[in-house]
């Protein structure tokens, strides 16, 4: 089931109506049941790996507490099972493709792909969430959950199951174990958040997607057209993913559950490392806590710290998809942050004005989006080989058209970014309580008006569903 469908609206209205009439335990059971319906709606078999992951990790965590001496064995079993799940569904085809390329290079027969499995939506999200839980139990940060329904709900909670945020057990489990409250003010804020999420998805992201998809479908696009497409994609992916997160957070709030913030105006970042503090925060903090720091983090030699950073970002790239362009994208970000550290150590970045830093970081981010969006390495090389001087005035005008078109749809996003993301420009600080209410209501009216009048005619799945 997808958030931006009428089926989902009916489904959620029913869940919500039942939910608040039940006691806490009944609410948990309802959420689990609803989550399974939500997840298995189109492909019921998607539930099998989800159940397998839930049972294995639940049992391993319990095993760690019951048999402390074998803690490591249970940890390895659990992590191996999660990685095996990812490897089977996500990386098997990619690995085989590369093995076959090597075999063919040496004149050997390629191996036939006997397993052609579809990737269950959100697999990378819930496996990472489960690994996080098991590692936290292993480290003694949290106690293993004894109640299977509580754990099942932690893995399957439908607002965040398919595309995050990748939550931590320490944040979620106490909420599932306590009575939930939701007052009228929280409802109003939650509804506003959901509306904003829908607007970002169906108005901004889907309209930008029309431009991006068209441009990335053209064979010989010139320099300005390619970069107009990259700009469109930059808008699309941010509005799409953060829109999903807003809907998820708003939905969860209506259910009395708080989900973490996953974005903090990433296009206002002033450096590559700042970008990752603002973009997909739940993944970057997960990678920091469960990969970068265990590898040694930055408290080691410069060479080792650089390796740790590159390894973490390369894994991040691979997490996004089983394709070389994602690996390159991850490595690109690792290299950017290493360069940033080097320039910082020379004191070169301090004197740059804020706006220039934001512009440079946005430019670097867009370059990264080109690597992310183009799946074919030859096509990336082709795109990068285009010269701005070889393009005609007409091609520049076409590119301006695409950029302006996307910018018009993205204007509310820009206004939101400027009025809530920059210190000193924050509009809420200047308003009275009543003024804020009037402003929020007015904005919400405009958002719904936008949804019904300029929502894209062609809609697509959320981009991060495929990861």
């Amino acid at each position: 089931m997808i958030f931006h469908s009428l089926t989902y609206l009916v489904f959620f209205a029913l869940v919500l109506a039942l939910y608040w009439s039940l006691p806490r335990r009944g609410q948990n059971f309802l959420l689990i049941f609803a989550s399974y319906i939500f997840y298995g709606w189109e492909h019921p078999w998607f539930l099998l790996p989800l159940w397998a992951s839930t049972l294995v990790d639940y049992s391993c965590a319990l095993g760690m507490e019951r048999f402390p001496r074998q803690r490591r064995v249970f940890l390895i079993t659990s992590v191996t099972a999660s990685v095996a799940l990812l490897a089977t569904f996500k990386y098997y085809g990619f690995a085989l493709e590369n093995i076959n390329a090597i075999l063919t290079h040496f004149g050997e027969e390629p191996i036939r792909n006997a397993l052609r499995l579809a990737l269950p939506a959100g697999l990378s999200f819930y496996t990472f969430q489960s690994i996080g839980y098991v590692v936290d139990v292993y480290r003694g940060k949290i106690k293993a959950v004894r109640d299977l329904p509580d754990y099942a709900l932690y893995v399957t909670f439908f607002p965040q199951l398919v595309a995050g945020p990748i939550e931590r057990a320490a944040h979620m489990l106490p909420q599932y174990r306590s009575e939930r409250k939701c007052d009228a003010e929280t409802w109003r804020i939650a509804l506003g958040l959901i509306l904003w999420g829908y607007f970002k998805k169906v108005v901004i992201a889907d309209n930008a997607a029309v431009v991006a998809n068209k441009i990335f479908g053209v064979q010989d696009a010139s320099f300005p057209i390619i970069w107009a497409g990259v700009f469109a994609f930059a808008v699309q992916i941010y509005a799409d993913f953060s829109g999903y997160t807003d809907i998820a957070r708003g939905t969860a709030r209506l259910l009395g559950i708080d989900l973490m913030r996953n974005f903090n105006h990433p296009y206002l970042a002033t450096s590559p490392s700042d970008f990752w503090r603002r973009w997909h925060i739940s993944l970057s903090t997960w990678l920091r806590d469960f990969i970068y720091i265990p590898l040694g983090g930055s408290r080691c030699s410069v060479a080792r710290a650089s390796f740790n950073l590159m390894a973490t970002f390369t894994i991040s790239g691979l997490w996004h998809g089983a394709s070389w362009n994602y690996v390159i994208w991850g490595a690109y970000w690792g290299a950017l942050i290493l360069t940033e550290r080097f320039l910082e150590s020379l004191g070169l970045t301090r004197r740059l004005p804020w706006l220039l830093k934001v512009a440079i970081t946005f430019g670097l981010t867009c370059f990264g989006w080109l690597l992310f969006r183009e799946r074919n390495l030859a096509q990336i090389v082709h795109d990068l080989a285009q010269s701005p001087f070889a393009a005609s005035a007409e091609q520049w005008r076409m590119a301006i058209y695409f950029v302006v078109l996307v910018f018009i749809y993205a204007l509310p996003l820009v206004v939101h970014m400027l009025t809530t993301g920059i210190d000193g420009w924050r509009i809420e600080a200047r308003l009275t309580n009543r003024g804020q209410f009037i402003l929020e209501t007015g904005v919400a009216v405009l958002l719904l008006l936008g949804i019904v009048t300029i929502r894209s005619v062609a809609t697509s799945h959320f981009i991060y569903f495929q990861f």
């Binding site: 009428l6 009228a184 309209n207 074919n376 695409f402 302006v404 209410f437 008006l449 019904v452 894209s456």
Partner: protein
């Protein structure tokens, strides 16, 4: 005595009620105040009545760029010729133009020609996307059962909730109009004060299917499972039989004119086998219905020098007179006596 907590709760509830009511009702009110659809434009009917043309030609921008109506009239000896063309028009628009303009004007031209290329006559959905819908609406009456049936308008497949939303927010079904306005604004800014037409054409050209990446073509073929489409005169699937029926009922002589696409240096236009087969079937069918069929594809002229640029099917301005004479020569023998 009311506790501050209770007071806050009440105020919260009031605020929530105002919020929900405003969010649900204000957009509904606003969208009801904006006219729900562009009205049918009757001006062309009056124009046709006044002009009483002897030849009517219907097509897209290729027709508009190929024929000078006055020169054509002079070359063929008819009193007047009317061109009904619009850039990006196709079979859905042609059906509406014939029914709602030509037939509605009650004019009786000696010949009504429909200019087309490839499978345009039987590809019902071609050029009916949002970009073209506004023009189509200016040709449509509020009730167009054939149009709706052939295009299988999604309004009929909607759930009760979907229909309720459309009722509450009528502009929900007319998003393409606002999107078209936004697109025009972007074009105007990009064109920098000059006419947006050429820029718009160039933008459409870069997305021509022949310029798409192979994997995109492979993917779309895989998704749709499409093979090259065979000719079909199924009235449920395309407008061609409705065009023919409309003309027959009004006593109009129809002529389908296949335009010549950009040729090779020797003047011939390559034709894949499936297109040859399709054209033979199309010709056989339209002739069996008492219509005429003219095909310029195998003629030496127009040659490459007459086209705007390689790969483009439009005739350049300087060659319009020559193209008009070519068409006049082809169509003159078909003009029946008044």
């Amino acid at each position: 005595m009311v506790s501050p907590d209770a007071g806050r709760r009440v105020s919260g509830r009031v605020r929530l009620t105002i919020f929900v009511a405003a969010v649900v009702l204000l957009p509904a009110l606003i969208t009801h105040l904006i006219p729900a659809r562009r009205d049918f434009d009757p001006k062309p009917i009056n124009h046709l009545r006044k002009k009483q043309p002897e030849v009517v030609m219907i097509g897209d921008s290729v027709l508009g760029g190929s024929i000078d109506p006055e020169l054509f009239a002079k070359e063929t000896g008819v009193r007047s010729v009317e061109l009904l063309w619009n850039g990006g028009a196709a079979s859905a628009a042609w059906y509406l133009l014939l029914k709602n303009h030509v037939v509605a004007a009650d004019v009786h031209p000696r010949l009504v020609c429909i200019f087309f290329r490839e499978r345009m006559l039987t590809d019902a959905t071609f050029r009916t996307t949002p970009t073209y819908r506004r023009f189509l609406e200016s040709l449509r009456h509020p009730k167009e059962p054939v149009y709706r049936a052939v295009l299988q308008s999604d309004e009929e497949d909607k759930s009760a909730l979907g229909r309720a939303i459309d009722w509450l927010y009528p502009l929900n079904t007319r998003r393409h109009v606002q999107q078209e306005k936004i697109s025009r604004l972007a074009f105007r800014i990009a064109a920098g004060g000059v006419s947006i037409g050429p820029l718009r054409r160039r933008v459409n050209e870069i997305f021509d299917p022949v310029k798409l990446r192979e994997e995109i073509m492979d993917e779309s073929a895989e998704v749709s499972g499409e093979k090259p489409e065979e000719f079909s005169a199924d009235p449920k699937r395309n407008f061609l039989p409705h065009i023919v029926e409309t003309a027959q009922k009004a006593g109009l002589q129809l002529c389908f004119v296949r335009e010549k696409r950009y040729p090779l240096p020797d003047g011939t236009t390559p034709q894949p086998e499936d297109i040859k087969r399709y054209m033979a079937d199309l010709r056989q069918w339209v002739e069996s219905q008492g219509c005429l069929f003219v095909d310029l594809t195998n003629d030496r002229k127009p040659d490459q020098s007459m086209y705007t640029k390689p790969g483009d099917d439009h005739i350049r301005k300087g060659a319009k007179a020559e193209a008009t004479k070519i068409y006049a020569e082809k169509l003159r023998p078909l003009l029946r006596q008044p």
